[in-house]
Amino acid sequence: MCTLERDGHARWLVIPYMGPIGTETAEQTLVEQKRPSRGQVEDVNDSFAYFYRERYRDVYRYALLMLRSASDAEEVTAEAFGRAYSAWRRGHGPQSESPLPWLLQIARRIVIDRGRRARLLAWVPLGLLAPNQEPQARDDTGRSEFWLWFELFARRLPPRQREVLILRYQRDLDDRAIGAILGLSTSGVRSLVSRACETLRRDPEVWR
């Protein structure tokens, strides 16, 4: 039922009934119409398209929470993958085994650039009309319950404390990877998290 694609994993016990993937049988031809074969998976694994599919949501989520706008998040994510792809093609891929911290570093730089641009705009006299330079959840994100909560969360936490918690929420990142993204040591990340938790302890309505 489910064993064909498990070749290579613990075959000695629970992965029985496996044909060799390389052998062309009618069954495999049928199965392959539905799922990628092992060889295809390996090809995809090596390709940027695989990481794009796997990690799009992660990059988008980070951008969305940082910018609080779906259209901005979409743009930042597209730009991050665009930059990542051209770096990848030039052979400047991620240093570590996992591409996620690398992708998020790129996305973070784009987010920061946008912030700078926004701040620059804020210097023109009319910018004085802007109540603050913090992004607000915009109309395109909808005034959902989530955004109402997130606005409260964002108001109570300074940007870096907020960002470290957003990155902590990303499950595939350990403190070392978060440190690489934020330019901090592992202990720096931990201390930032404790400071964020301390802030939240004083404001239980944010998280209770």
Partner: protein
């Protein structure tokens, strides 16, 4: 979590507690995150890149103009917005990646239903285990391989597990189901789960080493581990949930004898094609099951030709398909049937092996419903062979049973209670190290043409459309496959 906390309670909240609560809130963002739009590698740089470059160039060239327009616009609007992008676009809702297979209805739950009977839907058992759920605290973390390993994890395991957790009375923040494509990903999920207060980890390890590594992390933190579908064989607090392979063998043996009667096979002269006993101990226990039915001996060794069983059965040959390879199986059977044309019944330990034999039979001009074959796994090809009269039936192992059993066992372990003996009903032994893992060994099912619609099709394992595309509408309608 909804009650107003006392000041003392709040000030003492641990980091893990805050993170857990925060995670619960932040999870609300998931519904707002769309799946990746289509990516074409060949056009990636030319499309995505160009789009971005054109954007930038246009932006640079038009920046002064845009600035003036924006400022005038803002003056008119009387406000200021940082809006460098075009009109707002709401991202499309996340596209469903998994189809929730139909979970058997629990509308007619017997009053004496208990965890000893795992064959019924969790909707029957859920209310009975919810007291145990309430007695426990902390989280259960589930770590699966991702969709590139097999479509089953996102299409079946994750929704079934989620359903089972909810039915057993878990709140949304009391369980977490994740998957990862590699060992490193699985280990970091385990670390995050442990950090966030998991009491039990349900792990389908991507490979043996990952399983052992996660078990070791869990053991250090006092977290119990359930090896889901693939045993880990490490640590004193590790359990295994999977299917009983000896029972699968028994079903194959009985399936063959029933079929031989139905197809009027007189004095069956059987050729037996065993699974990869050289590499896979489950192949051995499966052989024990069918040998017991056919020859009255539960031996797992290859039997000599001439062995006889009840009802006129004679064994013509018994061979192992090394590492379950159908390619080798085809030539093994081809040689056997050339040397012994009297062979009029066969037993195969998997659908792939059966299909290899069926190809040989077809090449020899044998008609359907003449020489039985058997199988295991309920593959699309296996099911097609059954409907077309080439194969008697196949062993089906419903994924939802595994999901439900894992959740039930996790519930007992999370509450610090001993799991009922009826649940942890056996052991699995590592043939290499001899480590024994207490196990929930689930009952597999025999699927033939008569019950295909009510089992694999109803459960959504194989879609009727796919199957009927292979066998044709008339066979589907003959067997009520819809």
């Amino acid at each position: 979590m909804n009650h107003e906390p006392t000041k003392r309670h709040t000030s003492q909240a641990s980091e893990a507690e805050i993170m857990r609560a925060l995670r619960h809130h932040l999870a609300g963002v998931e519904a707002l995150v769309p799946d990746a739009p289509e990516w074409h590698e060949s056009s990636a740089s030319s499309q995505t890149g160009r789009r971005i470059q054109v954007h930038s160039r246009v932006r640079l060239a038009l920046a002064p103009l845009v600035l003036v327009v924006v400022l005038v616009g803002l003056l008119i609007a009387g406000g200021f917005r940082h809006s460098p992008s075009g009109p707002a676009q709401v991202p499309s809702a996340a596209q469903p990646t998994a189809r929730m297979p139909e979970v058997p209805s629990g509308s007619d739950c017997p009053s004496d239903q208990n965890v000893a009977v795992l064959d019924l839907a969790m909707s029957c058992l859920g209310p009975k285990v919810s007291a145990v759920t309430r007695a426990g605290s902390g989280m259960v973390g589930v770590i699966l391989p991702d969709a590139t390993t097999s479509a089953r994890y996102t299409s079946y395991d994750a929704p079934y597990l989620g359903h089972a957790f909810t039915t057993a009375g878990y709140a949304g923040d009391q369980f977490r189901i994740d998957n990862a494509s590699d060992s490193r990903g699985q280990v970091s999920i385990a670390q995050a789960d442990i950090r966030d207060g998991a009491r039990v980890l349900v792990v389908d390890p991507i490979d043996v080493q990952t399983g052992k590594q996660i078990q070791s992390l869990a053991a250090t933190a006092g977290v119990k581990v359930i090896a889901y579908d693939r045993p880990i064989f490490a640590g004193p607090s590790t359990y295994y949930v999977g299917f009983n392979s000896e029972a699968a063998g028994t079903l194959i043996g009985q399936g063959l004898t029933d079929c031989a009667l139905e197809w009027n096979v007189a004095d069956p002269k059987v050729f037996e094609l065993d699974g990869g006993e050289d590499t896979d101990p489950t192949a051995l226990s499966t052989a024990g099951g069918y040998n017991n039915v056919l020859w009255g001996t539960g031996t797992t060794s290859t039997l000599p030709a001439g062995t006889t069983g009840g009802a006129g059965y004679t064994l013509v040959g018994d061979q192992i398909a090394s590492a379950w390879m159908p390619g080798a199986a085809g030539s093994i059977f081809s040689d056997a049937v050339t040397a012994h044309p009297e062979i009029n019944a066969t037993l195969e330990a998997s659908d792939s092996l059966a299909n290899a034999v069926i190809q040989v039979l077809k090449a020899r001009g044998v008609s359907p419903r003449t020489i039985p074959t058997t199988g295991q796994d309920a593959t699309l090809q296996g099911l097609a062979n059954i409907l077309q009269g080439w194969q008697c039936g196949t062993v089906y192992k419903p994924i939802y049973l595994e999901a439900e059993a894992a959740v039930m066992l996790a519930t007992y372990l999370r509450a610090g209670q001993d799991a009922p003996v009826a649940l942890v009903n056996g052991d699995t032994t590592d043939p290499t190290s001899g480590v024994v893992e207490p196990s929930v060994l689930l009952r597999p099912y025999w699927v033939n043409a008569a019950n295909m619609e009510t089992t694999v099709i109803k459960d959504g394992l194989v879609s009727a459309t796919d199957l009927c595309a292979v066998v044709g509408a008339s066979l589907c309608s003959q067997y009520g496959i819809k």
